[in-house]
């Protein structure tokens, strides 16, 4: 489903060249849940951004469903992201001026979709994360766990085939983190492919595979899924 080939990312300033990723290759199969682990600054979030087409690689290719979307122009790339990919971030990244319903509906805004259909999908997504009763609340009126659940609802409202989660439990306490992990596991069971960056060894062990990154390079791949 996702094929990453010899991926490198270099950040350049006038005087310094930093290799955030160096020749990483990786494959993610359809319906798989993989986690990417490594110390801070090792390049795991950069890898996720590249795979999620949020940033362009310096070198290498990313194939998603046999297509290389990095070759797309801005408009096509935006459309591809909108239709195939979903994102959950550590800092939630909700728009504070919009309420829960409006935040969740955001990906649908950039699709040609009727308002009734959009409303139905938003309600369905919020039901899945058990936040139907908070539809008109602003993000500032929610707890961290609830915000992350809203972010998950936003990520799945467009029914993407791949979900990228960048430390989704990083800003949550253990109980809320567990709730969010539970949600992601359920989504994966329903068929969504998930790529998650995490620091938490326990959470990583719940996934199908663990990809370990160190200093911009992939160092190992493990397959230790535990029963949950």
């Amino acid at each position: 489903m996702i094929k990453v080939q010899n991926l490198s990312k270099v950040f350049k300033t006038k005087t310094i060249e930093t290799w955030a990723l160096n020749d990483v290759s990786l494959e993610v199969n359809k319906g798989e849940f993989i986690s990417i682990m490594g110390p801070s600054g090792c390049g795991k979030s950069t890898l996720l951004s590249m795979m999620g087409l949020l940033d362009r690689p310096t070198e290498g290719r990313i194939m998603i469903n046999g297509i290389d979307p990095t070759q797309y122009a801005d408009k096509e790339l935006a459309k591809f992201r909108n239709q195939h990919l979903g994102f959950v971030f550590q800092s939630f990244h909700l728009i504070n001026d919009l309420n829960v319903k409006e935040n969740v509906a955001l990906p649908l805004m950039y699709r040609k979709i009727g308002s009734k259909e959009a409303k139905y999908r938003v309600e369905e997504a919020l039901e899945k994360v058990e936040l139907s009763h908070r539809m008109s609340h602003l993000p500032s009126q929610l707890s961290g766990g609830q915000r992350q659940r809203v972010a998950i609802a936003r990520a799945i409202v467009g029914q993407p085939s791949i979900l990228f989660a960048d430390e989704p439990t990083g800003n949550l306490d253990s109980v809320m983190g567990e709730e969010v992990m539970h949600l992601l596991m359920n989504l994966n069971k329903e068929g969504t492919t998930i790529v998650m960056v995490t620091h938490d060894e326990q959470q990583a062990k719940m996934t199908d595979r663990i990809v370990r990154i160190f200093d911009g390079k992939q160092v190992s791949v493990q397959a230790p899924k535990l029963d949950y």
């Binding site: 935006a78 504070n96 950039y110």
Partner: protein, 412 residues
Amino acid sequence: MITYIKLALHSLKAKPFFTFITLFGISLTITVLLVVGSLLDTTYGNYGMEKKMDHVLILEQLRVTREGDGRSSSRISYQAYERYFSKLKTPDKMALMNIFIGQEKLYSGHHTETIQRKEVNASFFEIFEPELLKGRLFTAEEVIQESKVVVITDALATILFGTEDPLGKQVKIKSQNFTVCGVVKKGNSLRSNSFADVYSPLTKLPSWGGNMSPHLGGYTLLLYFEDKAKLEEGRAEVHQMIASLPLTKENKEESISGTCLTNIEVPLNNLFRIQSSTAFYSIIIGVVLLFMALPAFNLVNINITRMMERSGEIGIRKAFGASTWSLVKQLLMENTVISLLGGMIGFVLAALGILMINYYQLLSVNEYLEMNLNLFLYGLLITLLFSVLSGTYPALKMARFEIIASLNSDKQ
């Protein structure tokens, strides 16, 4: 579209201080532009009695140069009209008028009123078509005979005669008695070509004599063309006629020239000797743009600051499928909505300002500003121009933000 408008209103509600500052700047600019626009439009627009003014050429001045550095300039004399200009072939109608610059006293019973009077020929009423309320306008025959009849405005009739019928009543101007033959609706004195309190038949004054050219006098000639396309042909004919006017050798006259202008060419000609309607419109557009530039740049600055604050939101939107173009559209729509809101406030303030100017007669007696649909449409155009001027650059700048950098700047 509706979603973008909703988003725009949402974003404006979310930042009330920014919204206030922006609305204040836009509405104040639009207010000033509309009030000044109203003054120009009332003065030079084709409305009221002057609704056909764009079909008219005005021969205001002749300039006669004499040997050495002697030069005289004035309006034309009655003789010049009678002998030469009345024979012009291209105009469909010609109005001749003698404008009494300054004011005159009118006496009627125990009333003494300061009035503005125009002596005109009968064609004047065919070109300007005042709204006749009572009686009749004077005829060409009465102009030839210099009959002592006058047409007065309804406002003057009320002052002089109250509810009594003014027709047939006597008024005295410059020790001469006139009989009121008609009452017309009062015009706006900003429309100086047609405005008067009293219209009387033209008196045929002799040339000034002495060493003045016999072509110079106190009459203004208005040439009316049914077909506007014939204006230039008419102008050429007038200029040809001026060039062929005989010079008086005893006065050592060397040359004679004159300017035949449309109404909107008059101010620039008077100020800078520029005779072009294109220049008039260009200067107006230039001044409007210049006047708008300062608040627009200010708004660009505010918009950029505000958009920097919203870079997180831009990153989020991009991550979930917004293309650069859809973001530009969204941001421009926000700017358009706020500009239109500012424009509407500006319209209301301008209307109130104009009402106040008219109510307290802040310009001058008989001068009042008017607002019409055209002005409203121009205002709308200016407002939209404002939104494009102040929104495009910040929108383009913001839409080009990198997603990751934008997300990293997002403070949750």
